[in-house]
């Protein structure tokens, strides 16, 4: 397909009658794409279903059950799914996680460092990016996870447990994170700080292999729409804040702050070494997947860790390259 050319339906392969996009309940440009109907503009005549999914674990189940065509996954669930040979591949960066994810600690518990967490009740959604970072942070500081009471809670349940005073600390994400901070909490460490220490976390868009084989041009359309959403986010911060406030029913100032906690990567930049890289020389995302998988093996959550090359083979930047080249 040439740049800017309109696809003549008769020449294109049979279009899908419906596509389903599973999007994570967090703050990123997918909300813009959804709100502005950018996907619908790319695919007239195709019914588009958006399904909001609470976390990586649920997204993996949705993908396993083949209930979405496109999904979004943080690096731990992405590593889990790819190791388990789920029929999917990563196609683009949705967002890099900065302080949109953070560990909140109860102010009156006097928790000043990771070491102070010993003996405390700490919650995280198991299997998610924050669970991964929590265990990494404990390991870095030499704290044995057995010394604290680790609880597996979904973000919405963390908010409930926090407001009741059942937990002392939690590493999770917006929009619920803010409720805890405002309710007697303060931030101990953010996911962005962990990224600087060498543990980046991010969300990657995935497509089901079967869909990609049948409708490659619709994968391109998806990427084009998401890139347009990211562009809009970067160029119109105020309007974006309005959209997020509307999508998540938040006050505008909260939306503005949460936005800054998520780093959007312009599509051309995604093709650099620090992110997805190029076809034939996949970037650092493959390294993160490899180290995440090794970590999960050590945690006995995964049976084996594939090599970097095996992960690289499951990141397909060809769609992104085509769109950026336009």
């Amino acid at each position: 397909m040439l740049s800017g050319m309109v696809v003549i339906p008769a020449l294109a392969a049979e279009p899908p009658s419906k596509i389903t996009v599973g999007y994570l309940n967090l703050v990123n440009a997918q909300l813009v794409t959804k709100n502005l109907g950018l996907l619908a503009k790319e695919m007239p005549g195709v019914e588009i279903g958006y399904v909001k999914i609470g976390g990586g674990g649920d997204m993996l189940r949705a993908i396993t059950a083949n209930q979405v065509d496109f999904g979004g996954l943080g690096n731990p669930p992405a590593a889990i799914g790819l190791v388990r040979d789920l029929p999917m591949k990563g196609i683009m960066v949705l967002n890099m996680l900065d302080y949109v994810e953070a560990m909140v600690v109860r102010t009156d518990k006097n928790i000043k460092s990771i070491k102070d967490l010993a003996g405390k009740k700490v919650a995280a959604p198991f299997g998610s990016t924050t669970h991964y970072l929590l265990l990494k942070a404990l390991a870095e500081e030499g704290v044995n996870p057995g010394d604290l009471e680790l609880l597996d809670l979904a973000p919405a349940d963390i908010a409930i447990a926090w407001s009741r005073g059942d937990i002392d600390a939690a590493w999770f994400w917006e929009p619920n994170l803010d409720k805890a901070v405002k309710d007697g909490g303060n931030i101990l460490i953010t996911s962005g700080e962990m990224a600087k220490r060498g543990y980046p976390t991010w969300d990657v868009a995935v497509v089901m292999n079967e869909f990609a084989e049948k409708h490659p041009e619709y994968v391109e359309k998806f990427v084009r729409a998401e890139c347009a959403g990211i562009d809009f986010w970067l160029k119109n911060p105020e309007k974006t804040a309005e959209i997020i406030a509307q999508e998540l029913s938040l006050p505008i100032e909260d939306a503005t702050r949460m936005m800054k906690g998520t780093e959007m990567v312009p599509c051309p930049t995604q093709l650099t070494e620090a992110y997805m890289g190029k076809s034939g020389s996949i970037g650092q995302f493959a390294d993160t997947l490899e180290s995440t998988a090794q970590f999960l093996v050590a945690e006995k959550r995964l049976p084996k860790a594939p090599t970097r090359d095996e992960f690289a083979a499951k990141l397909d930047v060809s769609y992104l390259e085509k769109i950026v080249g336009e």
Binding site: G57, T64, L153, D166
Partner: protein, 277 residues
């Protein structure tokens, strides 16, 4: 076969006979056949590659998961520890539900007033989905054991109450009239007439209600548990460890069958008159 018993036998021996009579070899054989066939189907489907190992791992993998979790444990607890955490929750909640549900059922079965007063509450919450109630329970009772026990308790309760009401109301009024004519007190009537006559139906209600308690176990252990078979299944599912999931389901199912057998055995011992002729 042994219909006419010439002299009274010790209760235990009678119970043992009842148990034997309950499961004649033929039905046992047929049941075993079903189990064997299911197992063969499982082997065939996995060995021929018909099933994606992610969805249905082979028996070997499940057996390996069983050995591993039994010896090394799953996320800090061994299988026995997970199992005891779950059984503790189930038995405490179910025991409480029996202690409250059966007397409540007797009361509602015997008194029109009690029935009218209490039934709106029970009829209303009975069809509510457990997960819907659970969010509220977590808000009220927190993420600890209380909310888990409460959810299991609420799942067990209505079946018990309804079965007991039914059992009590179905008692032939002649029994009660005869007892009254002989000068029995209300206490005696409840203990000597109602309970023995209603026993078998109440026991059936208990068995169904225990099954119901099992169905909400995973839901109860999703929120902030770190041990329990339900939690293990849920957690393993997040990491797509389907061998652990299936192993957990089998263990859970077997304990359910075992508990049901224990209840039937108790029924045989406590209510020898329920023996079928």
């Amino acid at each position: 076969m042994k219909a006419d018993v010439p002299k009274p036998e010790p209760a235990l021996r009678i119970a043992a006979r009842r148990l034997l009579a309950l499961r004649p070899p033929r039905t046992l054989l047929l049941s075993s056949l079903t189990v064997i066939l299911l197992f063969c189907a499982w082997v065939v489907v996995t060995e021929t590659g018909l099933a994606n190992p992610l969805f249905l791992p082979n028996p070997e993998a499940v057996a390996r998961a069983f050995m591993e979790v039994s010896t090394e444990g799953y996320q800090g607890s061994t299988l026995i520890e997970h199992l005891s955490a779950s059984l503790y929750r189930i038995l405490v909640a179910f025991g409480l539900a029996c202690l409250i549900g059966i007397p409540l059922g007797v009361l509602m079965g015997t008194s029109e007033t009690a029935r009218a007063l209490l039934s709106p509450m029970i009829e209303f919450y009975r069809p509510l989905p457990p997960l819907g109630i659970y969010t509220l329970l977590v808000m009220w009772l927190g993420i600890g054991e209380e909310s888990k026990l409460a959810l299991l308790f609420l799942a067990a309760l209505p079946g018990l109450i309804i079965a007991t009401i039914q059992a009590v109301r179905n008692i032939d009024p002649i029994y009660v009239r005869a007892a009254k004519a002989l000068g029995a007190s209300t206490r005696t009537i409840v203990l000597q007439v109602y309970l023995p006559a209603a026993g078998p139906t109440i026991l059936a209600g208990m068995r169904i209600s225990l099954g119901f308690t099992y169905t909400v176990l995973v839901a109860a252990e999703i929120v902030a548990a770190s041990a329990g078979i339900g939690w293990m299944i849920w957690d393993a599912a997040k990491f797509l460890l389907s061998d652990v999931v299936i192993m957990g389901l089998i263990v859970l199912g077997l304990t359910g069958v075992a508990l049901d057998m224990v209840m039937r055995l108790f029924g045989q011992i406590l209510m020898p008159w329920t023996r079928k002729q």
